[in-house]
Structure formats: C-alpha cells, structure tokens
C-alpha cells in the first residue's frame, strides 16, 4: 500500500539556523532516505521550492483562473512530498516517526493513496463506447 507524506515546515525557523546546523539536518534526512530506499519503502519524493514559486489553477465563471502561491495559506508551508510503501497505516506511522526532520520542526501529514485503477478501467470503457459510436 502506498502512502503520500506531506512534510510541512516553518521557513523562518530554517532561515535562523546556521549553515552547519542546516547541513547536519540535510545529512541526517538523506541518510534516512537511503535507508527507506534500501528497504523498498521509498517509492518517490521531491522537495519543493519556496511557496512564492507555487501557483494555483482553478475554474472561475467558466474560465481558468490562477493565483500566485498555494491554495491554502498557513504559517507552515509544504516543504516536500514523500511517497512511501508501507504494509499498513501503522507501519507508515512507524517509518515516518523515525524521520530525522521531525526534530527540526517538520510535521508530516500521512495520506493513504486511493487505488484508482478500477475507476480508470471503467472510464476507459466509457470513453471507448463514445469513440465507437
């Protein structure tokens, strides 16, 4: 089962760290990523650039609209996502509770993924019918 872990952090807190502290944090996190990778738990993941680089697309009065920044504004910002392979929700918690970034103030939302393969298959059948008409 796959779980998507959203890591939130406070940019101000990170900015106040010294270069050595920041390096130590990154080293620990990358070591842990390697551990997850070596044991088949790391499906994928990326760090994100600061929030001001993000953009939100939505539908407004029949037209596409955009605004700068993320959809929801909070003090914390989404710093990265990690796609995890775990046996169940408790295993996902076990794995993420050992993540070194926690002690630097990051918090993780763990979301179980939804298996859409059935829906995709049904949709393909619907679309096939439309095309065959």
């Amino acid at each position: 089962m796959k779980y998507i872990c959203l890591g939130y952090y406070e940019p101000a807190k990170h900015a106040s760290m010294t270069a050595d502290e920041r390096n130590a944090m990154f080293d620990e996190c990358f070591v842990y990523d390697d551990y997850l990778r070596a044991n088949g738990h790391f499906v994928g993941g990326e760090a994100l650039q600061p929030e001001e680089t993000a953009l939100t697309v939505y539908w407004k009065k029949g037209k596409v609209a955009t605004t700068d920044g993320p959809y929801a504004e909070t003090k914390e910002q989404l710093g990265g996502i990690l796609m995890l392979e775990a046996r169940d929700m408790n295993h996902a918690i076990q794995l993420m509770s050992q993540h070194p970034s926690l002690k630097y103030g990051t918090l993780f939302e763990i979301h179980p993924t939804f298996d859409m393969s059935g829906m995709i298959q049904e949709s393909e059948q619907r679309r096939g019918k439309v095309a065959a008409r």
Binding site: D88, M89, Q98, K103
Partner: protein, 415 residues
C-alpha cells in the same frame, strides 16, 4: 538442497509468513523488548529471505534462520536510531553481547516460542491499556491483521485505529510494561482481560454479517492458540462458547439478512463438528470444577445445541445454569435470560412476574430485549394490548436494523 523455481519459492515464503510470522514476531519482541523494532526486523528478514534463498536454497530450519536474520537487522536498526536520537546506544551493545547463537537456538525451540506468543498476548491485553487499544493491538500484533482491515471491521477510519495502536504502544513503552505472563497469583485476574478481548473480537463479528465472519474466525483461532498455550478451564470454556455460538451462524439469519430466532432456526443447518468440539471443551471445563462465567454460558449454549427443538430443550437445566451464573456474576441481563428460561419450563406467568420485577428496578428500562421478551410472554398469555405496547417500546429502543425489522414484523402480526 535443490534450487526451487522463483515462483515456488515466493509461494513457500508466503506460506511460511502466514504460518510462522506470529511466532517469529513474538520471539523477536521477547528478544528486543520493542514491538516496532521487532516488526520492522521481521519484515526485513523476510525480504532478505526473498532475496537470498533463490541463490542459497531454503535453509534447513527456516524459522531460526529468519529469527537470526531479523536479529542482525534489529541491531542495524538500533544503530540507525542511535544516530538520530542519541538513545538506545547501550541496547545495541547489549544485544550484540547477549544474543549469541546459543540464545537464538534456544529461542527457536518450540516450547520457548509458544511462551513468547503467550507473553505477547498478555502484553497486548494489559489492563493499563484502554479496551479498544487492547483489541486493536491484539488483532494487529498477535493475529497479524493490517490496520485498514481491523478498522473496516470495527467501522472506524484507519487513521482512528492507527492512533489507538500508536497510543497503546506508547503506554507499553512509557509504563515499561514487561513482556511476560503474570505469575500464578495474578494470572487469573490478568487472564480475565485476555479472555475478554478475545470474546469482544468474537462478538464484534457475531452480529455483523459480512466482515463479521472473518473476525469471529480470528477470535476462534486466538481461542485455540490460548487453549494450546494455557489449558485453563475458563480458556476452554470460552473456546467452547465461541464454537457453540459460531455453529449457528448460517441458521441465524435468512438469505435476505433477516434475523431468525433460536426457536425458528433450522437446526439441521447447525454445524455439528463445531458443536461436538464445543461440547467436549465445555464438559472438560465443567469437570475441573474451577470454571467461571464463560464455561457456564458455554454449558447453556451446549444444552440448546443438544436439543432437537425448543420444546424438547432441557429448560430446567438451563435455569439451573443461569442460577450458577447469577451466583458468580450477578447482572440484570443474566436475570432477564433466566426469566425467559423460567417461562419456558414453568409457564409464561412465572416468567412475566420475574421480568416485571426486573423492569420495576429500572436497570433494564432502556434495554430493548427486556421489552421484547415481555411482549412475547404477554402475546403467549393472550394479553395482546400489553404485548403491543411492549413491542412498541422495544422498537423505539432497538438500534440495529435487522432487529428493528424483526420487531416491526411482530407488531404487525398483532394488529
């Protein structure tokens, strides 16, 4: 040893996992003293087996191999955690020093492993944990069910259930609850909690039809394991009780999911094998003369199982068994059940007198079964307006849909 085809091998490992993971986990928890660490180490050991056995062949004794592989993984794990939190340094050193091969070999002996499993069950059912935590932890750690499946059976979200498990584990860690079976003087008190968890799991599966069968099976499996590990009379009594109740599963509801009462059930549908096993366990427990409430409830279920119809049921013996139950464990619900048995052997007037006495005490005023039992007795006495009033009261209090449909049907018949 000849090399097996990869698909054979993964099947063998899968079977091994199904049959042995409970024992291996219990042994590892015993060795490491930490549930999370033991779980992680065991899964890594199985992953290593998948990786290595295709080249090296299957070891002669797979279980000790897996335990030993998990031990090395655990030491790695502790080292890694040490790097992150700066704790448990001593534990890794301690483990390396203490866990020599002799210890592993010793730990892989059958007897010791069974002790480990018993210890794990007692830990998961420790009275310091909230009851829902005990259930969740037992199903996950002892039965190996994934969080999502347990959550589905108990109709809660996986996140809620996961939190229960996390909290329960935290209590074990914070209170340093030892992995052990209590000493004999406190055993019976602690065994009570274990039996209660198993029975709660069974009952969660008793009423629900679809997911329920699975949970009841799991509870019976746990019951068997406990009888093997700790053949105390009440343990046998509980397993007997579960088997006797489970034997009626198919007869208990119609194909449409409608409730069928005992007296209307097709007794040919009752599972004879489960009845025979249930009766023999119950008889053994009774013979010990050290039995308790589960054994007495099992004995009552056994009397029903032996009868070919409601009319030919030995209601007098059932009344006596309820008397015994009331002596050890007085409760208004037991009194109500006894009143129904009295009505069966001494007539509805006698039963009604007892039920009215009970209802006057108000403890059961909001218990729908008390009102439906009263309604039934009034119906049999021809006091139809009273019967209607009691069915209406029962209907207003009943929570589950099949029960509500059943009561509505009864009410309809009286109009």
């Amino acid at each position: 040893m000849p090399l097996n085809a990869p698909e054979d091998l993964s099947r063998i490992i899968e079977t091994l996992y199904r049959c042995e993971s409970g024992r291996i986990l219990a042994t590892l928890v015993g060795l490491l003293g930490d549930l999370d660490l033991a779980e992680e180490a065991m899964h890594e050991a199985f992953a290593t087996a998948l990786d290595r056995w295709p080249h090296d062949g299957i070891p002669e004794k797979p279980r000790p191999w897996l335990i030993s592989a998990a031990r090395f993984k655990a030491i790695d794990g502790i080292r890694r955690r040490t790097r992150f939190d700066g704790v448990e340094k001593d534990l890794a050193l301690h483990l390396e020093a203490q866990m020599n091969e002799a210890r592993i070999n010793e730990a892989s002996q059958e007897e010791e492993i069974e002790d480990d499993r018993l210890r794990l069950i007692f830990t998961c059912c420790h009275p310091a944990l909230p009851p829902e935590g005990q259930i969740a932890l037992t199903l996950r750690e002892v039965c190996g069910l994934p969080t999502e499946e347990i959550a589905r059976a108990f109709l809660v979200t996986p996140a809620t259930l996961a939190q229960r498990i996390v909290r329960a584990k935290a209590v074990i860690r914070d209170k340093a609850i030892p992995y052990q079976v209590p000493l004999s003087q406190e055993l019976s008190a602690r065994l009570g909690a274990v039996l209660q968890v198993v029975y709660l799991v069974f009952n969660a599966g008793y009423s629900a039809v679809a997911t329920g069968a699975e949970l009841s099976r799991e509870a019976i499996r746990l019951g068997r394991l406990l009888v093997d590990l700790l053949p105390e009379p009440e343990v046998m009594g509980l397993l007997g009780l579960m088997l006797l109740q489970e034997s009626r599963r198919v007869a208990r509801s119609s194909a449409e999911g409608e409730l069928i009462l005992l007296e209307q059930q097709d007794r040919l549908l009752w599972n004879r094998d489960q009845i025979a096993e249930g009766i023999s366990l119950t008889a053994n427990a009774l013979a010990s003369r050290r039995f308790g409430t589960y054994t007495l409830q099992a004995a009552i279920a056994a009397v029903h199982a032996e009868a070919t119809s409601t009319a030919s049921t030995d209601w007098r013996q059932i009344t006596l068994l309820y008397d015994g139950l009331l002596r050890i464990h007085p409760s208004p619900v037991v009194e109500l059940n006894r009143a129904v048995a009295v009505a069966m052997c001494e007539g509805p007037e006698q039963g009604l007198r007892l039920i009215d006495g009970l209802l006057a005490r108000e403890e059961l005023a909001n218990y729908h079964l008390a009102h439906s039992a009263r309604a039934d007795l009034c119906r049999r006495l021809g006091r139809l307006s009273e019967a209607r009033a009691s069915y209406e009261r029962a209907l207003a209090l009943a929570g589950q849909e099949p029960e509500r449909r059943f009561l509505a049907g009864r009410l309809q018949e009286l109009i």
